[in-house]
């Protein structure tokens, strides 16, 4: 087995989920290569080289890959795919954007959102918004896989491994970057935070999300939201937790004013401990909550903040 993991990085920093994808990859092989494709990625390369289990970091540092657009990034991965039996990336929006393109160019079927590695060709993945778990076996010579990072542990560190610089300048004549609106936050990222507190439609407006800030500060939590809260414009899209948003599995998840639709539960029901605060005792969210508090959120959130 020889495995390539595509590094997930943003703004010159390696994302924490890469170490989790590597953890998944190491269930297939004893060592893995990591591809870092981007521009000005020295820090990313260094961080990747220090993740235990990485044998070699292969680097393409070129302005052509600054925005990691799918068209030429996929071509690049296909260029170096030759020697590998497995190609893995995080099931992030970047991985989801690029990897199916790679799979099609290699003429293989992709396995999406793997949550467990049984052996080098057998994997588990959720289907139907997580209401069923499928065990699938790939008969492809090359396995192209996206990994649900929240389902895997992180890797420890090692002293830096070999770094190989590749000069592959593949142009993208099909698409170009125009702009980005990035949400700035001092808080931990949703998909790796140990605690997540999310607000739903029950929060009523964006200003009221401030009620979650103090609690998040005290718990070192990331703040998430339901789709209804995002659609209503209370908070930006990157805060959405669920089937079609971010998948989280923190030690503690607190759902505030969220009813618990299938699609929301799909994104958080693997959390270790779930707390639900909702004024409707029949809200489905209570069926997955370890601790439920039937109350008006506007009464209890300030109380909770001061009790912590």
């Amino acid at each position: 087995m020889s495995v390539l993991v595509v590094a997930e990085h943003e703004n010159g920093q390696l994302k924490a989920e890469t170490a989790k994808v590597i953890n998944a990859a190491l269930k297939v092989a004893e060592g893995v290569d990591v591809l870092v494709a981007g521009y000005n990625v020295d820090d990313v390369v260094q961080s990747a080289a220090n993740i235990a289990g990485v044998t070699k970091v292969r680097v393409v540092d070129n302005a052509l890959f600054e925005y990691q657009l799918a068209e030429n990034t996929a071509d690049l991965i296909v260029e170096i795919a030759g020697g590998y039996t497995h190609i893995l990336a995080s099931a992030s929006t970047t991985g989801k954007n690029t990897l199916p393109r790679v799979a099609a160019l290699l003429d293989v079927s992709q396995i999406s959102e793997v949550i467990d590695v049984i052996d080098s060709e057998t994997f588990k993945r959720p289907i139907y918004a997580g209401n069923a778990i499928a065990t699938v076996k790939s008969n492809e010579a090359k396995k192209v896989i996206t990994v649900r990072a929240s389902a895997f542990e992180s890797q420890s560190e090692q002293s830096a491994c070999e770094v190989e610089i590749l000069s592959l300048a593949l142009d993208n004549t099909l698409s170009s970057f125009v702009s980005v609106e990035q949400t700035e936050s001092e808080r931990p990222e949703l998909n790796v935070a140990p605690v997540v507190i999310s607000g739903g439609r029950g929060m009523q407006n964006g200003e009221n999300f401030a009620l979650l800030n103090g609690i998040a500060d005290k718990l070192g939590a990331a703040i998430g939201a339901s789709r209804a809260a995002v659609d209503a414009g209370f908070v930006p899209n990157d805060m959405q937790v669920g089937q079609t948003g971010k998948i989280v599995a923190p030690d503690l998840y607190i759902a505030v004013g969220i009813s618990g639709a299938i699609q929301h539960l799909a994104g958080m029901k693997d959390s270790k401990v779930i707390v639900a605060i909702n004024k409707d005792p029949d809200a489905p969210v209570f069926q997955v909550a370890d601790y439920g508090l039937v109350a008006d959120l506007f009464d209890v959130l300030p109380e909770l903040e001061s009790a912590l």
């Binding site: 996929a74 199916p100 293989v108 992709q110 289907i127 370890d290 439920g292 508090l293």
Partner: protein
């Protein structure tokens, strides 16, 4: 400009899928089926392009058994001009679907293909990207805004870090995210009119695509159930339980 919209018949999003007792698959007998929600958004976007005079023709296509003609009729009732049913009883992977769609793209040369970003049954999120690769087109996935301008499509994408806008050279493949638009409902007169719109049926095996499965489904299980929780009476009790029982806060 011609727009091709692939739509999929899936379990209704309000229905919770149940696993068959023999663990071979999910049980879909007598389950309410519907158009994949992301495909509804794709159809809506195409129709809006037509209403704006940007698109000249909207073709809906669905691949599957006879039943998916029901969703094609819905697309026609919503405003698609024409429907194509690629008929097969085979269980298809996204790669197969993308290859069949690539054949239609070759034939019809649409400037734009709009797909859903993901099917809510397989949760694959692959087909659009694969189709773009096979037809060597630009791709704009997870779109929450799209503007056609000259030979380009400006697509705003919902990405993990926020919103990213790309300029795609046409012809392009775009996949829809939830906030791209709010789909309309079909009116009764339009549902009646849709019955007279053309629906072409093509047998999948006449398209020269190898549909042999590459991935075997070995088992389908229920996810592990969560232990029944407790209802606490106060914030004080909640905090004490989190601290002393669950030990998740200090």
């Amino acid at each position: 400009m011609k727009v091709l919209v692939p739509i999929k018949r899936v379990i209704d999003y309000n229905v919770k899928a149940r696993v068959k007792p023999d663990n071979t698959d999910v049980d879909l007998t007598n389950v309410k089926m519907a158009m994949n929600p992301f495909c509804e958004i794709a159809v809506e976007e195409a129709i809006r392009l037509k209403e704006a005079g940007t698109a000249t023709e909207v073709i809906a296509v669905s691949i599957g058994d006879k039943a998916c003609q029901e969703q094609l009729r819905t697309a026609l009732a919503l405003g698609a001009d024409k429907a194509i049913h690629i008929q097969t009883d085979a269980k298809l992977e996204s790669l197969h679907v993308a290859k069949l769609l690539a054949k239609l793209v070759d034939e019809h040369q649409p400037e734009l293909v709009i797909l859903g970003k993901q099917s809510i049954d397989s949760d694959n999120n692959q087909t659009g990207q694969m189709l773009a690769a096979l037809t060597r087109r630009s791709q704009g996935t997870f779109a929450s805004k799209m503007v056609i301008d000259g030979g380009k499509a400006l697509v705003t994408r919902e990405v993990d870090g926020g919103l990213q806008t790309l300029s795609l050279l046409l012809p392009a493949v775009v996949t829809t995210d939830l906030r791209l638009n709010e789909p309309r409902y079909a009116s009764l007169p339009n549902i009646m009119k849709a019955k007279r719109k053309p629906l072409e049926v093509i047998e999948a095996d006449t398209l020269g695509v190898n549909l042999t499965p590459r991935i075997e489904l070995l088992k389908v299980e229920e996810p592990s159930k969560r232990q029944a929780g407790v209802i606490v009476d106060s914030v004080e009790e909640l905090v004490s339980k989190l601290r002393n029982e669950a030990k998740v806060i200090s």
